[in-house]
């Protein structure tokens, strides 16, 4: 096989055994890899409770990983989300995907529950389940320091052991993977870490064609102001978005009660660069390199983390943001959800936590201590418990990130329709609405947005399956990636074929969610966005979203997506897309 390795490793932690599976070539061709292939392994099990030992935890690479394809280091982690109950997945970089491919595996399917805390160590075909009880409760940097000699490492932190609903996974000791609580799957399986080392290489069908296609993508990356421009994320990290989002008056501030942060100027990427003198780094196989490590070794916050630990909480201290980010990594929890939950807490008790309290609350959450236990359930559950559900700025139970939907109507629709809850990466409409790529669209209209969002969801489903970094698609397109796919795998395809695959992958996730009780009414936003305006400036007003217009756009979206008028997936559409599903909940 070219591109794929043709082998999936299935590990049963209850039995302490593993088997090797060899999916048929047509399964690979259809599901591609990453999110698509992982989804096909989740399909039959998706309605189990997330902590059912039989619920699979899936790590999948794509055919492009470990090749010269641009941003080839991405991969997917997937299971059922402990936080939302939806399909739960995350696309992440670092070195794990490459290591797994080099070890000869396209994916890992982990089921069961170990009797005592375990680590999984993979070195090519050699699999070892290692006693990890002494590592219990350890913070992620300490753990990583002990494990990094074993290869690429993904691990869960104390937050997972404390039952935090937005516990995530930490890759290479630094980078977050899996919003929506996938860290908890490690705890449910009594798994502490996975370490992978590989020594083989992935075969490519036509290296010459890959090189040409790779050059075409690189040319587009260089031409992209957002990626490699003077002010782009390759220069400043994703925090480069901070000034623009504030200037466009869509910076979620004060728990989304305002959309502009007065202290933004002093908290921007430039200020962080001046103060922390970071160096540039990124995922294996990437030339954009959007990650930053400060001279003292701490990780600089991504845009969403920076936005939420500053504007959302009314915090104007850079050092607090740095420390909050460090704590989230150390404890292994999602910084967007953590900050949003603190902000919800602040709104409910009518006072945002100050800088010191932000840090102490994060410690409490990570340790499951005091009020931290309740806050560790996420904004939606916490607000509900407090009798103030309206204070949770979340969709399907997942907290919204750093783009206020009143400032970009495509974003509003995309938040609502995302198959994993409040997420900006499923369709990334910021691309056209704010960053003008592939062309600028009017951010204050729903006209044309239903089709745009549906198309973008399909595109990113394909990208997450190939697997490639979503950011690349702000410059390149599936037109170039179809050529890369063909060069790597030897299989003929086109941009349009990949979109068809993306559509099928997205629709399968909707079916899984439907079978788990999600309905069209869940595709909605918190009421605040329809009732309260954002922060205008005299020239530019940010009115509340028009509820009727939103509902109309959602109805159009349903039609285009092939859902029924209530937003439910249908057996006919599934058949049209080649998904084996009867249309019944239990089907």
């Amino acid at each position: 096989m070219n591109g794929w390795r043709g082998r999936i490793l299935r590990i049963n932690l209850s039995a302490g055994q593993w088997t090797v599976e060899h999916p048929d070539a047509d399964v690979y061709a259809r599901q591609i890899g990453g999110r698509g292939l992982a989804g096909s392994y989740l399909w039959d099990e998706a309605s189990r409770p997330w902590d059912d030992p039989e619920m699979p935890l899936l790590f999948f690479t794509g055919p492009l990983v470990d090749t010269a394809s641009p941003t080839s280091g991405m991969m997917t982690v997937m299971s059922r989300s402990p936080q939302t109950g939806t399909v739960g997945d995350g696309s992440f970089g670092g070195s794990l995907g490459t290591a797994l491919k080099k070890a000869g595996w396209d994916g890992l399917v982990i089921t069961g529950r170990a009797r005592t805390l375990r680590g999984i160590e993979i070195e090519d075909a050699r699999i070892t389940l290692v006693e990890a009880a002494p590592l219990s409760g350890r913070k992620t940097p300490e753990l990583y320091a002990r494990l990094k000699g074993k290869g690429a490492v993904v691990l869960a932190g104390p937050a997972a052991e404390a039952g935090v609903r937005y516990a995530n996974l930490i890759v290479d000791g630094s980078w977050a993977a899996g919003r929506n609580g996938l860290g908890l799957l490690f705890a449910a399986k009594n798994l502490k870490y996975i370490a992978v080392k590989g020594s083989t290489t992935t075969r490519v069908a036509d290296p010459g064609a890959l090189k040409r296609a790779q050059e075409d993508v690189q040319r587009l990356l260089s031409a992209s102001p957002f990626l490699l421009g003077d002010l782009g994320i390759g220069r400043y990290g994703t925090a480069a978005l901070y000034d623009l989002i504030d200037a466009r008056r869509m910076m979620p501030t004060d728990n989304f009660r305002r959309t502009r942060f007065d202290a933004a100027r002093g908290m921007n990427a430039h200020a962080f660069h001046k103060r922390y003198a970071p160096h540039r780094t990124g995922c294996l196989g990437c030339t954009i390199l959007c990650k930053r490590i400060a001279s003292d070794g701490r990780i600089l916050p991504e845009f969403e983390t920076l936005a939420h630990f500053s504007a959302l909480l009314g915090n104007a201290e850079m050092e607090t943001v740095m420390e909050a980010n460090r704590l989230c990594i150390e404890l292994g929890m999602d910084p967007i959800s953590a900050a949003a939950t603190l902000s919800c807490h602040g709104e409910i008790r009518r006072r945002h936590p100050g800088p010191r309290e932000i840090l102490s609350l994060l410690q409490d959450i990570g340790a499951g201590r005091g009020i931290g236990k309740a806050l560790g359930q996420g904004a939606a559950v916490y607000a509900e418990q407090c009798g103030k559900p309206e204070a949770a700025m979340a969709v399907k139970g997942m907290e919204l990130p750093g783009f206020d939907p009143r400032g970009a109507y495509g974003m509003a629709l995309a938040y609502a329709t995302s198959t994993r809850g409040g997420c900006h990466m499923r369709a990334y409409p910021i691309s056209s609405e704010i960053l003008r790529k592939p062309v600028a669209t009017n951010r204050f209209t729903f006209s044309g947005k239903a089709r745009m969002i549906k198309g973008a969801e399909d595109l990113f489903a394909a990208a997450d399956s190939l697997t490639a970094c979503p950011f690349v698609f702000l410059a390149a397109s599936l037109e170039e990636y179809a050529r890369i796919f063909t060069a790597v795998t030897g299989l003929e395809t086109s941009a349009d074929d990949l979109l068809s695959a993306g559509e099928r992958i997205d629709y399968s996730e909707r079916i899984m969610n439907f079978r788990n009780g999600f309905r069209g009414t869940d595709d909605d936003l918190p009421a605040r966005f329809f009732e309260e305006p954002g922060t205008g400036n005299g020239h530019l007003e940010i009115p509340p979203l028009d509820r009727d217009e939103f509902l109309k756009a959602r109805a159009v979206y349903r039609r285009i997506r092939g859902l029924d008028s209530e937003g439910r997936p249908t057996g006919e559409k599934a058949a049209e897309l080649g998904i084996a599903w009867s249309g019944e909940i239990g089907g």
């Binding site: 490699l228 421009g229 002010l231 430039h270 704010i434 397109s477 170039e480 349009d496 068809s500």
Partner: protein, 386 residues
């Protein structure tokens, strides 16, 4: 959406890209809507249904594009055109030619590319997000074919291999060329006193550049330095519609709000950093681009490797200004490394296969007239070299 399809259908004709009455532009919104009735619609709707797109444009290019597009398409080896200009190289890659007007065939081609040429019938282009993409692709294809055709003619004539058919097409195309543009009324005079005047001056100069035919709308870029802030057109903006599409970029880097600025921001910054000019204009005047491709070197290693656009080592000139290599943006071979030094002692610089940069001291009058003169000079030189 209705407004958008009308806007771009009209703009195609107004800007001389498409023959009046021919643009058929459709977009999916709630329904599939069209700018007009046409008997071709059922067939085009079939294409629509077979692709994941949101907009589709079919139009006959206006002269002289029509002649050059048809000639190139009819004589294209293996049904694909590979123009050497930057737009094609970067964004379109190549231009497929389809000789039969069948939905199935067109669907197969458009699954892989943004547009296709149908000899004798026109160009079909699609957009995934908005009708503007189809417009931009159509415009790029016309530009690419124009440049390729005139560059091919020059090369073939000098090599003594120009065919009678090429000659006939050439005569016909030349007949349809507009006379060289001239600027009559002056632009706003500098130095500018405030931000508002800077923005007005930029909008005016951008529009003048398009009106003079020195760049097609949507391409090119423009900037003006005022009090340590570089005002620069946004990426993907149209030079003739700059209102609201200019980013202020503080030179000290204290804000990234200009992350949406033109992909040539680095080049513009490096140019103004030299301290001698405050205004910069960048267009894609056609004969300047054509001449930039016309190199007579026979045994150049870089040329043989087809890397002229990256690292041409010779000091080439046209119309008295240097021709430099360089790609869009900030890459290793980015024009941000080649244009600023070359512009230090020249009124303008031609970038290989791409366009021209000019600069002015206080306002856009000098930059625009340099652009006009360079293009006029290149046009004269082109015909003289023939």
């Amino acid at each position: 959406m209705d407004r958008l399809i009308r806007k771009y259908a009209d703009k195609l004709v107004r800007s001389g890209l498409a023959e009046a009455g021919t643009p058929l532009l459709g977009a999916w919104d709630v329904e599939l809507i069209w700018n007009r009735e046409d008997e071709m619609r059922p067939l085009i709707e079939k294409i629509f249904a077979g692709l994941h797109i949101s907009a589709l444009l079919f139009a006959q290019p206006a002269e002289p594009y029509r002649t050059v597009v048809d000639f190139l398409a009819r004589t294209a080896p293996s049904g694909v055109l590979r123009p050497e200009d930057t737009e094609t190289r970067t964004f379109l890659h190549d231009l497929p030619v389809v000789t039969t007007f069948e939905a199935e065939k067109l669907i197969q081609v458009l699954k892989k590319r943004k547009c296709a040429i149908l000899p004798g019938r026109g160009i079909i282009a699609c957009g995934t997000v908005s009708p503007e993409q189809a417009f931009v692709t159509f415009s790029s294809a016309c530009f690419a074919c124009f440049v390729k055709f005139f560059a091919d003619v020059l090369r073939d004539v000098r090599a003594g291999s120009s065919s009678p058919a090429q000659q006939a097409a050439f005569r016909q195309a030349v007949e349809h060329l507009d006379p060289p543009a001239q600027r009559v009324s002056p632009l706003l005079r500098g130095p500018f006193r405030d931000e508002a005047t800077v923005l007005t001056a930029m909008e005016e100069a951008g529009k003048a550049t398009v009106d003079c035919g020195l760049v097609d709308s949507y391409f090119g870029n423009i900037s003006c330095l005022f009090e340590d802030i570089l005002y620069i057109s946004q990426t993907g903006s149209s030079l003739d519609e700059l209102q609201g599409c200019i980013d202020p970029v503080p030179l000290d880097g204290s804000s990234c709000a200009g992350i949406t600025a033109s992909s040539e921001l680095s080049a513009h910054r490096a140019i103004v950093a030299r301290g001698t000019c405050r205004t910069i204009l960048h267009g894609h005047p056609k004969f300047s681009v054509v001449l930039s491709l016309a190199c007579g070197e026979k045994n150049c290693e870089v040329g043989l490797k087809r890397q002229c656009h990256l690292c041409c080592p010779r000091p080439r000139r046209a119309a008295g200004v240097p021709i430099v290599p360089g790609e869009v943006g900030t890459g290793l071979h980015g024009l941000c490394h080649t244009v600023p030094p070359a512009l230090a002692d020249s009124r303008g610089v031609i970038v290989y296969g791409h366009g021209v940069f000019t600069a002015g001291r206080t306002d856009f009058n000098g930059a625009l007239s340099s652009l006009l003169e360079i293009e006029k000079g290149c046009r004269e030189e082109y015909f003289a070299r023939l």
